[in-house]
């Protein structure tokens, strides 16, 4: 009797372990975030443009909305949440002075002075970061998107020095432990590479608009700058817009409607 009880307890312990391991295991458990895998048919419907661009209705951009867009972007792309000066940012908010330092906006209207502006890589037409990258890890696609090939990045950070907008971040450490909202369908990065906004090239490829554009609910117009009927050209035709640091000569593809 004693023996069988021992055996039973042992068996129970082993099966409990087994069940526990099964539950702990990440395999087989559907992640909270991810949707269905994109199919070949999705990729065949990819969006195409001659030159992608963006127009931001800055007056509609409250700090809450900027935060919403930032979360959408950062969860989509596994951007880690690292506190302090090692932080990684693809989309963030800043004051007028920080966003447009060459505009010398003295005596600004109260509204503009206190406004937060959403910032991201400007996907410049003549990007300085591409010129200085020694490995061509940063390159420009024919549709204007300034992309990073993380496989080729050697972490020299020339692009960070070259970019006049501080649009790039360096991974000082393994980012994986700092990823809060994980999207298993998008890769993470490793220590020693630079990263930045990619204009959601992976979403355009399956026919979707960028995450931040979707999250902004109309406060960001996105489309083909070469097509005069596109949303972005319509927004620019009807409103006065400025670009960041025009004298840096990089010709940003992101416009700010004041």
């Amino acid at each position: 009797m004693k023996n069988t009880r021992r055996e039973f307890l042992k068996l129970a312990a082993v099966s409990a372990l087994g069940v526990g391991a099964g539950r702990l295991g990440f395999l087989g458990d559907a992640p909270a975030h991810a949707g269905a895998l994109p199919t070949v048919a999705n990729f065949e419907e990819g969006l195409k443009a001659k030159h992608w661009g963006m127009a931001i209705f800055s007056a509609k951009m409250t700090p809450e909305l900027i935060e919403k867009c930032r979360t959408a972007c950062h969860s989509e792309h596994n951007v880690p949440d690292i506190p302090g000066n090692k932080n990684i940012k693809w989309f963030w908010g800043a004051s007028y002075e920080e966003s447009f330092p060459t505009e010398h906006g003295h005596y600004l209207s109260e509204d503009v002075e206190h406004r937060q502006f959403p910032l991201l890589c400007n996907q410049c037409e003549t990007p300085m970061c591409v010129k200085v990258c020694p490995t061509q890890a940063t390159f420009q696609r024919p549709d204007g998107i300034v992309m990073m090939d993380f496989h080729r990045c050697i972490g020299c950070r020339y692009c960070m020095a070259g970019c006049p907008f501080g649009a790039r971040s360096f991974n000082f450490q393994d980012p994986r432990p700092f990823i809060k909202h994980f999207n298993p369908q998008f890769p993470t990065r490793m220590r020693g590479v630079v990263e930045k906004c990619n204009f959601c090239a992976e979403r355009l490829a399956v026919g979707k608009l960028p995450s931040c554009v979707e999250a902004a609910g109309g406060a960001i117009a996105f489309g083909d700058l070469a097509d005069e009927n596109s949303d972005v050209r319509k927004a620019l035709r009807e409103h006065f817009a400025i670009r960041r640091k025009p004298d840096a000569g990089t010709s940003p593809s992101v416009y700010y409607i004041l």
């Binding site: 990440f26 395999l27 087989g28 458990d29 559907a30 992640p31 909270a32 991810a34 895998l37 994109p38 199919t39 070949v40 990729f43 065949e44 990819g46 596994n78 390159f139 696609r141 549709d143 992309m147 090939d149 993380f150 496989h151 393994d174 994986r176 432990p177 990823i179 994980f182 298993p184 369908q185 890769p187 993470t188 990065r189 490793m190 220590r191 090239a201 490829a205």
Partner: protein, 138 residues
């Protein structure tokens, strides 16, 4: 030749030493049995092509997908697949340890794909590198 009586035996000894592993493994067949997906019969190409060329194929995929934005792969039979390590390869070969690692460990290569690419599109959390760097790193 000066010191020939030392140098020649020395060279012979050296050659013998470096050929010991070759001689030791000569004629031996090492067998690796990776676990194949149970619910799938065919890979994107036939097994021999995959065995010989999966690294070249993956290298081409990454260049074509990232640099040219060309993300659809058409195989020898004309079937189409999405070029993606995690979302295509790893969604069938869901257990890296029982598939990829068995060969990689036997032949002593430690590819660093998984430093960034996720193990499966069903993964719940990112897996930090520490666990994997013991496998050899790069």
């Amino acid at each position: 030749m000066y010191n020939a009586k030392y140098i020649i035996p020395g060279i012979i000894f050296f050659l013998a030493l470096i050929f010991v592993p070759v001689a030791y493994n000569m004629g031996k067949n090492f067998e690796v049995k990776p676990e194949l997906p149970k619910d799938q019969k065919d890979c994107i190409e036939d097994a021999q092509t995959m065995r010989d060329k999966h690294m070249q194929i993956l290298n081409e995929w990454r260049n074509e997908a990232v640099r040219d934005g060309n993300r659809i792969y058409v195989n020898a039979k004309g079937q189409k697949y999405v070029k993606s390590l995690t979302n295509t390869c790893m969604s069938c070969h869901a257990d890296k340890a029982k598939f990829c690692d068995r060969c990689h460990e036997t032949v002593g290569v430690a590819p660093y794909c998984w430093d960034c690419h996720n193990l499966t599109p069903n993964q719940k959390t990112p897996i930090p590198l520490a666990a994997m760097s013991e496998a050899g790193g790069h």
